[in-house]
Symmetry: C2
Subunit: 143 residues, 2 copies
């Protein structure tokens, strides 16, 4: 039980330590890339009385303070993961929506050296790979 670790994370981000927050952190750790609904479901296994709004609030607060990372592939609801700060990217399965981590191919911030940027000041480059996951590749015409 390393809830104490989560507790420190929260405190270091100036966030109060509450049962819903710990439950959300555990849920996200257990289910990487889970969308809000799944996080809510996972949270309610341990804390049945947490409202959906609380989960939205908590995920928002955690995202704002950088404790979790939010990703939002086109056509999917927001998803969350604990793995932050290592500049990794994601592969998304076109047929089932599954998401997996991909370590950055380049090693350093990829393509962050965008050339003509139209006056924009760029602070992050996000790479999303699209393809087909192993399961969907072997089961072509599912559902």
């Amino acid at each position: 039980m390393d809830d104490s670790e989560f507790e420190h994370l929260l405190r270091s981000a100036d966030l109060r330590v509450t049962r819903p927050r710990l439950a959300v952190l555990r849920a996200v750790r257990r289910h990487p890339h889970a969308d809000t609904g799944s996080v809510l479901a996972a949270v309610r296994v341990e804390e049945p009385n947490v409202s959906h709004q609380a989960v939205y609030d908590v995920l928002g607060a955690l995202t704002d303070s950088g404790l979790v990372r939010r990703i939002q592939p086109a056509g999917s609801a927001a998803r969350y993961e604990l793995r932050v700060g290592d500049n990794h990217h994601h592969v998304v399965c076109r047929s089932c929506g599954r998401v997996a981590d991909v370590d950055c191919a380049v090693g350093h911030r990829p393509c962050l050296t965008a050339s003509a940027a139209d006056g924009f000041v760029i602070d992050e480059a996000e790479v999303t790979y699209w393809g087909t996951c192993a399961e969907c590749a072997s089961a072509p015409a599912a559902t």
Copy 2:
């Protein structure tokens, strides 16, 4: 009037040539990165009787046949552009949501050489840059 060009595009994609479709193509050409609502509004300037559903259908059909490209930055509704097939990317302004094109920094498909992909077969790499546009940078606390 190069509607004839759009007409050819449609025919070559096995799509019937209709007034709504031509209007949508013109609207997307005129307003790159416009979201569905803006496209609908632009379409109705020329064709006031087009339903919102028609626009969704048309944009869907055009996207499926590769005549337009759909992008969906996190936190934004779907946006469309005519510029396809040249592997360019996008910068999104964090504060106003504005989108601009960025030519691929690497030249060739960037980072498409994803290493460990967990069994995924990758067919596309999409890069989204996040930052602040010139206007928002100069007008810090707008709105």
